[in-house]
């Protein structure tokens, strides 16, 4: 064992195998994420969720675009695709249509899904393609050095907004609901149990589902914005989070500063025919399918 240092008192017994190791690509651990980054917690919840639902792991597919969040596809031991920047959703749409048996999930960052990939999100939600989109929102482009992105709050400091961001950010649950998602929820990485439940719900739900995960990126966002290290940001979540399933869209705006709350919850859970269901309906109606 490679542990060196002070006495034995209180030392935790060394474990050989983590209970989720079979869902992880063990040989790639430890992962590349910074100490205090929330991505590992988000991924743990996902690993728990795919194991918790009654869908064989063989039928689960995970896709990511590019970014720190995009790395998730490379660490989970199910069929996975690390696609080009912003294109995980069209890739997922193709997979689902070609093989409707699969349970297809896209796990990616705010920049990947809503800047370069924004258009794909809108249209997959509009069509109600039966895929799940999980966005880790850390309010910046973590991987490339902490630039401003489409969810950076007004006044926030990033490497490209030295005077404070003066762009209005997206309110992601509002955007997802407005474009047609049938299930919309938001949690922070501190809400592990609720997040896991929501993921299970999304995996089992027919239609386009969306989960936003508020996550610390101490390197790109926490430090310049006085949220501090990962631990301090989680303390901030504990203090400021309010669970409110029936929140108004305005209340879901995120400021990530001062006394403003972080409203989390299960906001939308509804039904609408999916892309494939409607296609089948039309084909039958016109006599192309019996």
């Amino acid at each position: 064992m490679s542990v060196k240092g002070a006495g034995d008192e209180g030392r935790i017994e060394t474990g050989e195998e983590h209970p989720l190791d079979h869902i992880l690509r063990r040989d790639r651990l430890p992962h590349i994420w910074c100490p205090g980054c929330g991505l590992g917690s988000a991924m743990t919840c996902f690993a728990q969720a795919i194991e918790g639902v009654d869908i064989p792991l063989k039928k689960q597919v995970l896709l990511s675009g590019i970014g720190c969040t995009g790395r998730i596809a490379g660490y989970v031991n199910v069929d996975s695709y690390h696609t080009t920047h912003g294109r995980a959703i069209p890739f997922a749409t193709g997979l689902k249509i070609a093989n409707p048996e699969l349970c297809v999930t896209v796990f990616s960052g705010d920049g990947d899904l809503f800047a370069i990939g924004g258009n794909h999100f809108l249209h997959a939600a509009r069509r109600n393609v039966d895929i799940n989109v999980i966005c880790v929102n850390n309010f910046n482009y973590g991987m490339t050095g902490g630039q401003q992105g489409p969810t950076t709050p007004v006044d926030a400091k990033t490497t490209t907004t030295r005077y404070g961001s003066f762009e209005h950010p997206f309110n992601l649950p509002y955007l997802a609901a407005a474009t047609g998602a049938v299930y919309v929820s938001r949690w922070t990485t501190l809400h592990c149990r609720q997040l896991e439940k929501s993921m299970e719900k999304a995996l089992q739900k027919k239609g386009f589902t969306f989960i936003e995960i508020i996550s610390p990126c101490p390197t790109g966002f926490g430090r310049p914005n006085k949220l501090g290290e990962g631990l301090e940001e989680l303390r901030y979540y504990r203090e400021k989070s309010v669970i409110k399933n029936d929140a108004s869209w305005d209340e879901m705006d995120l400021h990530m500063r001062g006394e403003e709350p972080i409203v989390v919850g299960d906001f939308v859970d509804t039904e609408r025919p999916t892309y494939l269901e409607l296609e089948e309906q039309m084909l039958r109606k016109r006599g192309f399918m019996k």
Partner: protein, 87 residues
């Protein structure tokens, strides 16, 4: 724990006990498990792993306090800490 009234099923309901394990070389010393353990079982040790991160340890007098709630496992971003049901 003190009760203002002794619960009728106190003898039947057993608080679960957990046994904690750590994979030391995965830990990055973020402190999440220490801060958010509901029973305050963990604290930072002086011990470091091969990358120089301070590992969690079991706090003095808390050896029997883990209730196997699993939260340290869920919140740990490194797949480094977990628990199993103890006796």
């Amino acid at each position: 724990m003190k009760y203002w009234r002794r619960p009728l099923d106190k003898d039947e309901i057993k608080t679960p006990k957990g046994h904690i394990y750590l994979i030391p070389d995965r830990c990055k010393g973020c402190g999440f498990c220490i801060e958010f353990c509901p029973k305050g079982v963990l604290e930072e040790s002086k011990e470091i792993n091969k990358k120089g991160y301070h590992l969690p340890k079991i706090a003095d007098g808390k050896e029997d306090d883990c209730i196997n709630c699993n939260f340290c496992m869920l919140i740990c971003p490194e797949f480094a800490i977990y628990t199993e049901e103890g006796e």
